[in-house]
């Protein structure tokens, strides 16, 4: 048995060798653009580089990490990042599943509806952020105009932490739900129709079919979506920057935006690198979970 299994593997390996050689330039390129900057980032997080100081950098050990971890902004921005992530996931995944289930039914007009639904995915986040910024404008925005027409008083959408966070999640969801929907739809298509037919013959209700068949079979896909979305939320920047710039004050500043401000506004490059390393450490478990979930999907 062992020889039977291992021989084709050996053959496959032999066949793959020339192909593997062809990928060497890509690996070199990846090393240049990913690995070297990554390790250089870790290296400079132990120095004291400030672009405005013009002093030669010196080794400061864990000083940057101590400063960053002692700063209240690090924790408040991490908290904001987690809030956006949690509420975003709770909003985007159920709505995405719901839309996928509706599209999976192949009702009349599904094709047009599907095309319309994926349009937000095609737009650049900056354009989306700018459009929504005008829409959320307290005095001139269409949202307040619509609310006003039904007698609801103007809401200062971007003027307080709660409403601004809500607005950010709405905008991100508008762009991300189609992505969730498409992946779930692909997972639904992969489920054999014979399972549904058998369940119906056994007298299962629609709710039971969803809980006992659909949900368990799309769970690996949902896990992958969740991991991808968590990583997306951790690096959320463009829409947020255009929409609120992290304001009012720092009320909607995420850890990613705070890292940007530290590096490119305060010009504290080493401190920003330390924050980057911390974000990487936070992201690592998510990455490993994603790897596991991906295996499940395969």
């Amino acid at each position: 048995m062992i020889t039977k299994v291992s021989r084709p593997n050996l053959l496959r390996r032999k066949n793959l060798r020339p192909v593997a050689h062809l990928t060497i330039p890509t690996w070199i390129f990846l090393a240049l653009v990913v690995l070297i900057p990554f390790f250089y980032g870790i290296y400079i997080s132990f120095l004291n580089i400030n672009l405005a100081s013009f002093l030669p950098p010196s080794f400061v050990g864990f000083d940057n990490y101590q400063t960053v971890l002692a700063a209240s902004e690090t924790w408040s921005t991490l908290r904001i990042t987690l809030i956006i992530t949690l509420i975003g996931l709770l909003m985007q995944i159920p709505i995405g599943i719901l839309l996928a289930l509706v599209l999976h039914e192949n009702l009349r007009g599904t094709k047009i509806f599907r095309s319309i639904l994926i349009t937000p995915m095609l737009l650049t986040p900056v354009a989306v952020g700018l459009t929504y910024r005008f829409m959320f404008d307290t005095d001139l925005g269409v949202i307040n105009w619509a609310l006003g027409s039904i007698g609801i008083e103007k809401v200062n959408w971007l003027g307080s932490q709660t409403s601004a966070l809500f607005a950010i999640i709405i905008v991100d969801s508008w762009q991300s739900i189609p992505f969730v929907m498409l992946l779930v739809l692909a997972a639904l298509t992969a489920i054999s129709s014979s399972l549904y037919e058998a369940a119906r013959v056994d007298g299962a209700t629609a709710s039971q079919i969803f809980r006992r068949i659909t949900l368990p079979l799309i769970t690996p896909t949902l896990l992958v979506i969740t991991m991808i979305k968590i990583m997306d939320f951790l690096k959320l920047f463009d829409t947020l920057f255009i929409l609120t710039r992290g304001g009012p004050g720092n009320a909607t500043t995420t850890l990613g935006l705070w890292t940007y401000k530290t590096g490119f506004v305060f010009l504290e490059f080493s401190r920003a690198a330390a924050l980057g390393v911390i974000i990487t450490i936070i992201t690592l478990p998510v990455y490993f979970l994603w790897r596991r979930a991906s295996k499940g999907v395969r």
């Binding site: 013009f54 001139l140 304001g247 009012p248 305060f266």
Partner: protein, 427 residues
């Protein structure tokens, strides 16, 4: 074959001699046109703005007149200063002229990144530094040296709607109490009372008020003093103004503030004069002909918050003499009217401020005349200002959104600023 070669060699010599003669003659003619001093080419670093557009409009004429080739690279504000710092740090000599915000004068000064221009200025009748008011002559100075010429003069001034004020029998405020009362009356009449940017640029207005109320941001030893009773009073007043502002003002940037004032019915606005270009644009200004300007109201201390662009010559410039020639050409007295008319924010030259024709077209120009009695306050000249500013904006926003009282927020800010200011090199 040999004869042919000889002919060719002879021909080559002739061609070489003619070429050398032509080159020498053209070089001489170019020198004679430019005064025989400088030539070559210069690289100009600009930041997209009306001033930048105006500068570029002079290039063809300058090149034709001097033979100096001018190359321009524009970089958006968000990364412009970082790019300059990187270039100066590497002593790359990439730029001969660079536009920069006055807030970056301090880090450039500490790094000795810019060439002192005093010897050029003192020897130039064309630039004529005495055409500027006494206080404004120092706008680009750091530690006694001029590191940047004034590219725009932008005091924080009072803007008001002449039609609304006339209808309600109001006059531009001279004190902060009057300013608030005017706004209240305009609001009672069903309009927006006044507007300032209470959003991500709130520091502009907050520090204007702190200075005007007699406070300061830090003392001479760089200890923060933002929780003084004057600063608390200024912050309380800022919050009070929010009550007489349109709702959207809480998130407004500098640009939003101006757009709202020019596009809606709002009684008054406090903003930099440099925004007046927007008032001249009929697609933005729905209230053309109804915009008046006046000096900012006065608090317990007569101060003028002065902002604006600088432009200078980096210390590592490869062609500083040609760079100065270009700056003198664009920003000198001869072309100063043309400079303004090509869309730039005005430079506060006496010859411009007192030019009746220009004032008729740009009624705000008299506001650039800052009386000698008024103490000019610039953006804090410290390298850690960006970090200071973000902390200040956060604290002031806590007050404006009602999360904290002024005293508590400013006490906390004062503590937060101590380690930030401690990083600033003591001069």
């Amino acid at each position: 074959m040999k004869g042919k070669h000889l002919l060719k060699r002879r021909n080559f010599k002739v061609v070489a001699l003619v070429a050398a003669a032509v080159l020498t003659l053209s070089a001489c003619s170019s020198d004679s046109e430019s005064g025989g001093e400088v030539g070559g080419e210069i690289n100009v670093f600009l930041i997209p703005s009306p001033s930048s557009t105006s500068i570029q409009s002079f290039i063809p004429e300058f090149e034709a007149e001097t033979g100096i080739k001018v190359n321009v690279s524009e970089t958006p504000y968000g990364e412009a200063h970082q790019k300059q710092l990187l270039s100066y740090n590497q002593k790359a000599g990439a730029y001969d002229i660079a536009q920069f915000d006055n807030t970056y004068l301090a880090p450039f000064c500490q790094a000795k990144a810019m060439l002192p221009l005093d010897s050029y200025i003192s020897g130039s009748d064309e630039y004529d530094i005495n055409d500027f008011g006494k206080g404004q002559q120092d706008y680009g100075k750091c530690k006694g040296e001029t590191l940047g010429l004034t590219l725009s003069t932008e005091p924080m001034i009072q803007w008001y709607r002449t039609d609304l004020y006339e209808k309600l029998g109001l006059t531009p405020a001279k004190t902060w109490d009057e300013y608030y009362n005017n706004a209240k009356k305009v609001q009672a009449a069903g309009f927006g009372g006044q507007i300032m940017g209470f959003g991500p640029n709130v520091s502009w207005w907050w520090m204007t008020l702190v200075w005007s109320f007699g406070g300061a941001l830090y003392d001479e030893n760089l200890n923060p003093v933002v929780n003084s009773k004057e600063a608390v009073a200024a912050t309380d007043y800022l919050k009070k103004l929010l009550e007489v502002s349109p709702k959207g003002a809480i998130t407004a940037t500098g640009d939003d503030t101006t757009s709202k004032f020019l596009g809606e019915d709002i009684g008054a606005m406090l903003n930099y004069s440099g925004y007046y270009g927007m008032a001249l644009d009929p697609s933005i200004n729905k209230n053309a002909g109804k915009i008046g300007t006046a000096p900012a109201p006065m608090g317990t201390v007569d101060t003028t918050h002065l902002a604006g662009w600088n432009i200078g010559v980096p210390a590592d410039a490869k062609n500083p003499d040609a760079a100065w020639k270009f700056l003198e050409f664009v920003l000198g007295k001869t072309n100063s009217v043309k400079y303004l008319e090509s869309g730039a924010a005005a430079i506060g030259r006496q010859s411009i401020i007192n030019n009746a024709d220009l004032v008729a077209k740009n009624p705000y120009l008299p506001q650039l005349e800052i009386p000698s009695s008024s103490r000019i306050e610039r953006y804090p000249q410290i390298a850690v200002w960006p970090e200071f500013e973000v902390a200040a904006i956060d604290a002031v926003t806590q007050v404006l959104t009602g999360k904290q009282k002024s005293q508590a927020a400013l006490d906390a800010l004062n503590e937060k600023l101590k380690p930030i200011l401690a990083k600033e090199p003591k001069s």
